[in-house]
Symmetry: D2
Subunit: 269 residues, 4 copies
Amino acid sequence: MRLQASCDMNLIADADCPTVGMLRPSSGAAQWLVSESCYFDPPVPTTEYVDMFGNLCQRFVVPQGRMRIRVDVVMDTEAVIAVEPDAPATPIEQVPDAALQFLLQSRYCPSDRMEDRARAIVAGVAPGYAQVEAIRAWIHGNLSYRYGVSDAATDALDTLASGAGVCRDFAHVGLSLCRALKIPARMVVGYLYQLDPMDMHAWFEAFVGGRWYTFDATQAAPRGGRIVVAYGRDAADVAFLSNYGPLNTERLKVQVELHTNAVPEPLPD
Amino acid sequence: MRLQASCDMNLIADADCPTVGMLRPSSGAAQWLVSESCYFDPPVPTTEYVDMFGNLCQRFVVPQGRMRIRVDVVMDTEAVIAVEPDAPATPIEQVPDAALQFLLQSRYCPSDRMEDRARAIVAGVAPGYAQVEAIRAWIHGNLSYRYGVSDAATDALDTLASGAGVCRDFAHVGLSLCRALKIPARMVVGYLYQLDPMDMHAWFEAFVGGRWYTFDATQAAPRGGRIVVAYGRDAADVAFLSNYGPLNTERLKVQVELHTNAVPEPLPD
Amino acid sequence: MRLQASCDMNLIADADCPTVGMLRPSSGAAQWLVSESCYFDPPVPTTEYVDMFGNLCQRFVVPQGRMRIRVDVVMDTEAVIAVEPDAPATPIEQVPDAALQFLLQSRYCPSDRMEDRARAIVAGVAPGYAQVEAIRAWIHGNLSYRYGVSDAATDALDTLASGAGVCRDFAHVGLSLCRALKIPARMVVGYLYQLDPMDMHAWFEAFVGGRWYTFDATQAAPRGGRIVVAYGRDAADVAFLSNYGPLNTERLKVQVELHTNAVPEPLPD
Amino acid sequence: MRLQASCDMNLIADADCPTVGMLRPSSGAAQWLVSESCYFDPPVPTTEYVDMFGNLCQRFVVPQGRMRIRVDVVMDTEAVIAVEPDAPATPIEQVPDAALQFLLQSRYCPSDRMEDRARAIVAGVAPGYAQVEAIRAWIHGNLSYRYGVSDAATDALDTLASGAGVCRDFAHVGLSLCRALKIPARMVVGYLYQLDPMDMHAWFEAFVGGRWYTFDATQAAPRGGRIVVAYGRDAADVAFLSNYGPLNTERLKVQVELHTNAVPEPLPD
C-alpha cells in the first residue's frame, strides 16, 4: 500500500540549541521511499549523517525563538505484515553478525535482570515466533496504555512495576523480555496508518525463523501500514529530536493517509 | 541557492531487464536535500543500497515494454563554488584514508600512462589548485566539445587522441591528468543550473589544500548551481542506469530551475 | 613504547556454548599492532566480524567440557598519554558525527539521571578537560576500589550509592557524569602496563578540545602503556566474552611486559 | 589446513617515500587468522585503515635509504577448494548488493570490449560455474606463462594480444571474460601453498550458484592451500605496495609451509 505521512511541529528555543533529528525515513527491507521532503522555517544550515544503525540523522541548530519543521513522506509499505506462528527460534550461531548487538542490554531494556519474568510469561510456549507473540499479548493484556505514568527516565522494569505506559514503554518491555530469552529484538519508531489517536509511534521487531518480524504490543492484532523512520536498541538511539539545550515542542501534528498513486506529468519537450 | 531539478525518461525493454539506477541524490558535503521523489510507471518492486562511494543505488527490473521514470529534487546548493588559486598540493601523507582510492588508475582513466602529458601541461605551475586549474583550462582550450566522437568504450587516452568529446570525456581527461600528478581526483555526475543544452552532466573534483574543489572543463569559468547525484572513480562507477539486458532510452528530458522557497502550509489541527 | 601482552584462560562449558569474543586488538588512533595471535585449544571453527564500534569480534562455540584460549599481542603504544588541562569543551555543533552516540545514556550509564550530581562535582571548574579531570579525581578520591561489591547488573547509580566498585564501575561513573554534562565519553577495555594486580582493565575516554583524551579513575595519576582492545558505550558493548549458554572461567592469567624490539631474522635465499 | 606464510623484503628509497601497503591478511569467508606479525626495520610510524573492499591498508613513509619489511602469518584455510560444475548462473536480480560492483569494467579489465571473445569461449557451455571453468581452462591452455612480456600498464586486451603473461595478467583476462558475460568476478592476491616458483600470487573468484568460487588460470587443476591478502576489482586495487615516490624492491622472499599446530604454553601462575 502507498501511504502519505506528514509531521508538522513548532519548536521554541530559549537559546540557540544544537539538535540532532531523526526525521527522514529511507528505503529499507520492507519499504520503498517514493517521495520525501523536509522543510525548516526559518531555513537553517543542516548536515546529515548515517548513524551506526543506518538511520539518517540531521544536525542543525534551532535558533533562539520559534522554528517550524515539516516532514512529508510517500512510502510503499506492506498492507499486511508477516505472521508466522510456527517460525522457530534462530540458534545464536545462526544469527547474522549485524543482529547480535540486539541481544545486548541497554538503557531502557535491562534484560539482564528480567530472565525470570520472561521465562514465566513464555512457560509452555514453543521457542521462536510463538514466544515473542506470547510476550506481546501478555503486555497488551496486562499493561494499561496511559499517558503521564512514564517519562524519559522510565525503563522496562519501571513500566512492569507501574503496570502502565505508552507505546515507547510497551516496546521497551517487549524488547527486554525477548533479549532475556536470547532473542534479538530492536526498537522501531515511525508512523502507523489509522493509529488512534494519530501520533508518532514506537514498536519492536524480533529476529526469529531467520528474519525480522514486527510486533506491536499497543495493538490488539497484527497490523500493517507502517513506515519505519529509525531503528535502534531502545529509545535512547532513536529520539525524533535530541536537543543539547533548552527546546520545547509547542505543537506536533501527525497525519497518515492513503496516497492517490498519481505520477507527476511528463516534463514538456 | 535552492534549485529544483527534474529528470523524466521513457525506457523501452525488449525483455525484462535487471537494472541498477543512480537516480537519487542525497545530502552531502556541499548540498542539503530539501525534497526528493522518484516515480516509476508502472510501479515495480525496488530495493535500495548504498554503494562503497556512498551513492544511493536502486535495483529493479524494467518490465518488457515501456517504462517511465520521473525523478524530482529540491536541493540547497552553493551558488558560487570555492576557488582558491593558492591552495597547495596536499602531501600524500596527509590525504585522508578515504581519498587515497582516488589516486588509482581506473577503466577510463589510465593515469599510469599519462604522467608525461600531465607534467608538460603543468610545467612551471605551482603544485596544488593551480595545477588542477591549468589542467582544466588546457582541456577547455584544447579539446572540442562534440557529440558522436566518443562512446561507452572511450577512455581518456582515446579522447586526447581524437581531440574531442563530451562532458564525461572531459572529466576523464581531467581525472587522469590529476592522478598522474598524484593529486586525488573523483568523478561527479549530477545537474548544473543553466547548462546549455540542458542534460545530465559530469565534472570532477580534485583534493588539494586539504579539501575537495570542483572543476568543470566544459565551462569557461567556475560555476556553482550544482547538484551532485553520484561520486566515483570514473563513469563505470556512476552510470545513471546500469542495465543487464537490452534497454533503450526513448526520451530523456532534464530541467533545472530556481525554487520558489515556499514552505508547505501547516497541517490543520 | 613496545609492549607484549598475553591473556591465557581456561573455560568450562556444561554444554556447547555459542560465544562472541572481543579478544583481538587492532591498530588504532594511538597504537600500532606489531604482532598478534589467538590460539584455541581444542581448535574450533571461528568467524570474525567488525562491530559498529570498529571492534573485531570472534564467533565460535565453546564445546562441552574444557577449552583454553591464549591471546598474545605486541603493540606500539604511547608511553605517556596526552594531558591538556586547558583543553576547552568542544561545542556540540563541532563534535564529529561518529562521536555523537557517546553522548547517549546507556545500560550502565543512566546519564539522564545524573546531571545534578555532575554539576555539583564540577562546580567552579572550567568546561572541557578540567571538568573531566575533576570527575576522574572525584571518583578516585571518593569511591573505594573493592571487589565483590558490584556484579554484572551494577550501574553507575548503584556504584555511587554503594561507594565502591572495580575498574568497570569506576569507568561507568566517569562516563555517566561526562555525558550528563554533554561531554562525549566512551568505554575502553584493554591492557595497562604495570597494573597491580595485573588483570584485564577498563577505563574511559572523553572528547574535549577536539579530540579523545584518556582518563582512568583507578589510578592516582595519568599513565600511558595502554593497549586498547575494544571501545563501546559501556560494558554491555565490550564484554571480553559474551556467552549464550553456561560458561565458566576457571582460570584467567594476564601478563604485560616490555618487548625486546627484536625483528625476526631474514628468510634464507 | 594450517599454513605458515612469510614475506620478507628489502626496499630502497632514493627519498622519503609515502607508501600504502596491503601486507596484512585478516580473517575472512574461507580463512581464520591464527597469528600474524608485521615488522618494519627501521620501525616507522604507521597507521592503518580498512579500504572499501575490506582490506587492511598500512600507511607509512619509507625513509630515504634501505628498509626491511617482514610479514608472518599463520592461517587456517581450506585444503581443498569447492568445485561445483553444475552451479548455475546467479540471475543479476539475486546477486548481493555488495557483489554488483564486480560486474563493472575496470582499469585492467575492459570487459565492455570483450563480450564477443567471451561468448566464443563459452559457446555451448551451460551458464554458471561451467562457463567460468571454461574460461579458466581456455586461459590455461591458450596463454603462456612468461615473465617479461607484461608490465604495470598491461591490461587484459594486451594480454590476449600478446598471448602471454604472469599470474596477474591471467587473472585480468579471467575477470574480464566473466564480467563480459555478466558474471561478477573479483581479483584476489595472496599466498598459494606449493606454488612453484614461490612468490606472491594472484587469482580470481567468480560469483555463481549463489556464492564465490575460486579459479586460478595458472594452475592445471583446482588447488586449495590459499591465503587471501586482499580483494579488489583488479590489480590497481590490490597492490602489495603503492608507492608515491621512487621506491625499489631490492629483494623479495616468500615462504609458505605447513604449520606445526603447536599451541603456546600456558602462562605461569
